[in-house]
């Protein structure tokens, strides 16, 4: 049976992890490689690196990072944040990333989805959708959540799938960072409409939250940052708890 995936997300700026990360005994909490290997050993199913580097002259560090990660990390990893062209996708994939996540650029130029899928395969193209609830609808935001687009989240997810996206990374801006639970309603609405995997993001705090997203929310995977970074739970701890409640997960190898 296909396992539900647990995906830690790391914010990267100029090649370093930003936001507080408080792994016990970590020599340098800013080193993406050390953190990535830590999560890898803790049975993370994938990793997502979100590049929040503002200036383009420092983007080279992100390509270097992808290459360094690929030499030591033998699980899939995604790089996202500011990717705007086929050329950039090519550089990141050639460096060793398995997937790229596109957000603002795909909204501005939806052809990028199809061109990317054609050239690198659908499995490589993750469409990140940041949404905010507006009554009974959900609006898509671009530019890191700063700009409303007027677009409907379900419609955009369906369009992204039709254009060749391999996965949807859905983030509820209302829930993000609050650790009060995922937005189950929009997660379920999109996941039951598209035929590609949906990764739920934004709001994961307790085991119940993750359990609900993967069951009632019909998510194929869950992504979280702070709950893992601050050590409230570990990936393996969360997996054991989900396993005990009947969710299929890939347990650490000694328990498999």
């Amino acid at each position: 049976m296909l396992a539900k995936r647990i995906i830690p997300c790391l914010d990267i700026k100029e090649g370093r992890v930003v936001k507080g990360v408080s792994f016990l005994g970590l020599r340098d909490a800013g080193d993406p490689l050390e953190l990535a290997q830590r999560y890898n050993e803790d049975s993370a199913d994938e990793l997502v690196f979100l590049d929040i580097t503002a200036s383009h002259e420092h983007r080279g560090l992100t390509f270097d990072l992808a290459a360094r990660l690929a030499r030591v990390l033998f699980i899939p990893f995604t790089i996202g944040g500011g990717i705007a062209s086929i050329e950039e996708i090519h550089r990141i994939v050639t460096a060793g990333a398995d997937k790229v996540s596109l957000n603002t650029a795909a909204l501005a130029d939806p052809d990028l989805i199809g061109e990317g899928a054609e050239r690198f395969g659908s499995q490589c193209i993750v469409i990140a959708i940041d949404v905010k609830r507006r009554g009974d609808r959900w609006e898509v935001f671009s530019h890191g959540g700063r700009r409303p687009t007027g677009r409907d989240a379900v419609a955009w997810a369906l369009e992204a799938e039709r254009r060749g996206a391999g996965e949807i990374l859905l983030t509820s801006m209302d829930q993000d960072g609050r650790q009060e639970g995922f937005d189950l309603e929009i997660t379920s609405r999109i996941s039951t409409r598209v035929n590609i995997p949906v990764i739920a993001s934004g709001g994961g705090g307790t085991t119940d939250h993750f359990y609900d997203a993967l069951t009632r929310g019909h998510a194929d995977a869950v992504l979280a940052a702070s709950v893992f970074h601050y050590g409230q739970t570990t990936v393996s701890g969360l997996k054991r708890a989900l396993h005990a409640r009947g969710v299929p997960v890939r347990l650490p190898r000694e328990e498999a």
Binding site: L2, A3, D45, D98, N195, D220
Partner: protein, 202 residues
Amino acid sequence: MIAIIDYDVGNLHNLKNALDFQGIPNRIVREPQELEEAERIMLPGVGAFRPAIERLQRAGMEPVIRRKIDQGVPFLGICIGLQLLFEMSEEGGPNRGLGLIAGRVVRFRTALKVPQIGWNQVALQRPDPLLEGIPDGSYFYFVHSYHAALADPADALGLTDYGVMFPAIVRHGNVWGVQFHPEKSQHAGLRLLRNFATMNAA
């Protein structure tokens, strides 16, 4: 030395990374004559069946692949590389494959989402040098819309359930194939690659 065949079908560097990481000598080869020296051969690749078989043939690899396999050189097809081992695929076709293992490649006929993306378990069917030290039911990372359908069920070393049961690991003589990505399957995948590199081929 292990040869990794490069025929412009996806990024091979992650497979190379997984071998390098374990200190396994390997080389990416683009020319048929470079394959002559190979003691073991890996055929990776992602994407669609038809461009893959066409590029493999255009690269002039097919005759030397057949000769090396006849000589008993261990051969491992990975992902689309597994699918190319079969007689034909219905993807974009029908299109003919290498015909090294009897059977066809068919699209998933399941109510589940296609492609299958993620970690799934493999039920091992019998002991094999490729599977040394890998527990039954281990998870591997899959990304695919098509899967093999064997003519002879005895060619299956491992079966996976995704709405339908399909062979995730196959073997016929000195030809092995895996549908998943061992280079992305953490400990179990690294072990499988190491087994391929070090196993007694006889």
